[in-house]
């Protein structure tokens, strides 16, 4: 069955988050199979790390604030794990 819209949107934000955390927070690329679930350990940890670094409320969830910041233009140098 075609993915319903919510699922598609969710997927898009997961892709954005995955890319962001890999690029700037050293999320290991091989965590992909877990990363599809937002509550997987490494991903939650990285979301918290990113929220802490950028001064967001540390929820460990891809809440709207967090997704909004992830969509903002920024520098390509990683924030951690150079």
């Amino acid at each position: 069955y075609p993915l319903d819209r919510a699922a598609k949107e969710e997927d898009a934000s997961m892709d954005l988050a995955q890319q962001y955390l890999e690029n700037y927070y050293n999320l290991a690329k091989d965590v992909k199979q877990f990363a599809r679930r937002r509550d997987s350990g490494p991903v939650v940890k990285k979301i918290q790390e990113m929220q802490k670094f950028l001064g967001l409320e540390v929820t460990g969830k891809l809440d709207s604030n967090t997704l909004e910041v992830m969509a903002k233009p920024r520098c390509g140098v990683p924030d951690v794990g150079q």
Binding site: L54, G55, K72, P73, C75, G76, V77, D79
Partner: protein, 378 residues
């Protein structure tokens, strides 16, 4: 603020930059003046000065590119990553790359070229990202920055001055009494003719010269020695180490102090260390190691303890029978008191105080006597 691991910074205060190519979004002179203005931001709070090159290799090469552009970090089209830059050093280090899929503008209708350039040049000078949302070095682009009255935040100034200090006062201005930098063992001078080393090792093609809390690193790419705190790379390592050697087949450097030894692989200290040196097979009478060198071909490691030496079989992982032997018997002419040993160009270099002896292991004789710091091209 934050600096990069190992705190890389320029070893000189006058730097060159070159604008290799231009975005078509703006007139060249607008890009030129934006880059100059961005450099002046950092010049104003440090002893650094900049001059522009129009050809050849500059310290800071500035370019515009889209997608993949020859480094391992391709750009990603409009939005998201705007630019990136590399910490100080030779070659591509210090360079700044701008994503030309962005709309670069002189005002804030697009991505402001001055603001991003000032941020990226902060990286080129050695600053990493700041957590202070007001700081220029905060990673997220802030379109509401007041460009007309742009100022570095206190966080940015503290960060860059932690690397280079404040601007040097020009001679006509009143000079405040400045604190003389601490002399003494804190910062050994690399060209001091009396300089001696605690330990020396290779590491992935580089050479590391340990002294007190610091080490110098030299390599073919970086002939000028870089000087670092041991703790800035390996916080768990002690200062004032006794011996160090690399087992290239394991991509590991072993560091000795007292009756303990550590293992490091690149930047990473290996878990499970320190271990006791007696696990290698030394008798309890051996309290510490003076120097060590590992022969990759023979897969043997030589440990020098006072006027004797031991040989360890890296394959069997055990000390060889028939040792210790007198150093003078097998390395005639070498001072029995060995601080460090280095292997290079087929020779062994035995360091003792401010001198080193070059030893030809085939001819079994000393071939040259040198200053210990001859490797620093003083």
């Amino acid at each position: 603020f934050a600096t990069f691991p190992g705190e890389p910074k320029w070893w000189k205060t006058h730097l060159t930059y070159r604008i290799v190519n231009y975005t078509l979004d703006l007139p060249r002179k607008v890009v030129d003046s934006a880059i100059e203005k961005a450099l002046r931001v950092w010049e104003a709070v440090t002893p650094l000065t900049f001059s522009r090159l129009d050809e050849g290799e500059a310290d800071i090469m500035i370019l515009f590119a889209v997608g993949g552009h020859g480094d391992f970090f391709p750009f990603d089209g409009p939005g998201n990553t705007l630019a990136h830059a590399y910490p100080p050093g030779r070659g591509f280090k210090g360079d700044a790359h701008f994503d030309d899929d962005e709309q670069w503008t002189e005002d804030k209708s697009g991505i402001n070229i001055f603001l991003v350039a000032a941020h990226e040049l902060g990286h080129s000078l050695g600053l990493s990202h700041s957590r202070d949302a007001e700081a220029l070095m905060f990673p997220v682009y802030n379109p509401s920055t007041d460009l007309a009255h742009f100022r570095l935040s206190q966080d940015d100034v503290a960060g860059i001055q932690s690397l280079y200090g404040p601007p040097t006062v020009s001679p006509e201005e009143p000079t405040l009494p400045t604190e003389r930098p601490p002399a003494g063992p804190e910062t050994p001078a690399m060209c001091d003719p009396e300089l001696s080393f605690d330990a020396i090792s290779t590491l992935r093609g580089e050479k590391l010269f340990f002294k007190d809390r610091h080490f110098w690193r030299i390599s073919y790419q970086i002939p000028e020695p870089e000087f670092h705190l041991i703790s800035s790379f390996w916080p768990s390592l002690p200062s004032g180490v006794d011996a160090a050697y690399e087992v290239t087949s394991k991509d590991t450097v072993f560091i000795f102090k007292g009756n303990q030894f550590w293992a490091i692989r690149g930047n990473e200290a290996q878990a499970g260390y320190p271990k006791d040196i007696h696990t290698l097979g030394f008798p309890s009478t051996v309290r510490k190691i003076d120097a060590a060198i590992s022969d990759a071909e023979k897969k043997k490691t030589y440990f020098f303890v006072e006027d004797k030496y031991w040989r360890f079989d890296e394959q069997k992982q055990s000390m060889e029978p028939g040792f210790p032997r007198q150093t003078a018997d097998d390395f005639p002419g070498v001072d029995p008191k060995v601080d460090a040993v280095l292997e290079a160009f087929g020779f062994l270099y035995f360091f003792s105080g401010p001198s080193q002896l070059e030893f030809d292991p085939n001819a079994k004789q000393v071939t040259r006597a040198l200053k210990s710091n001859s490797w620093f091209n003083c």
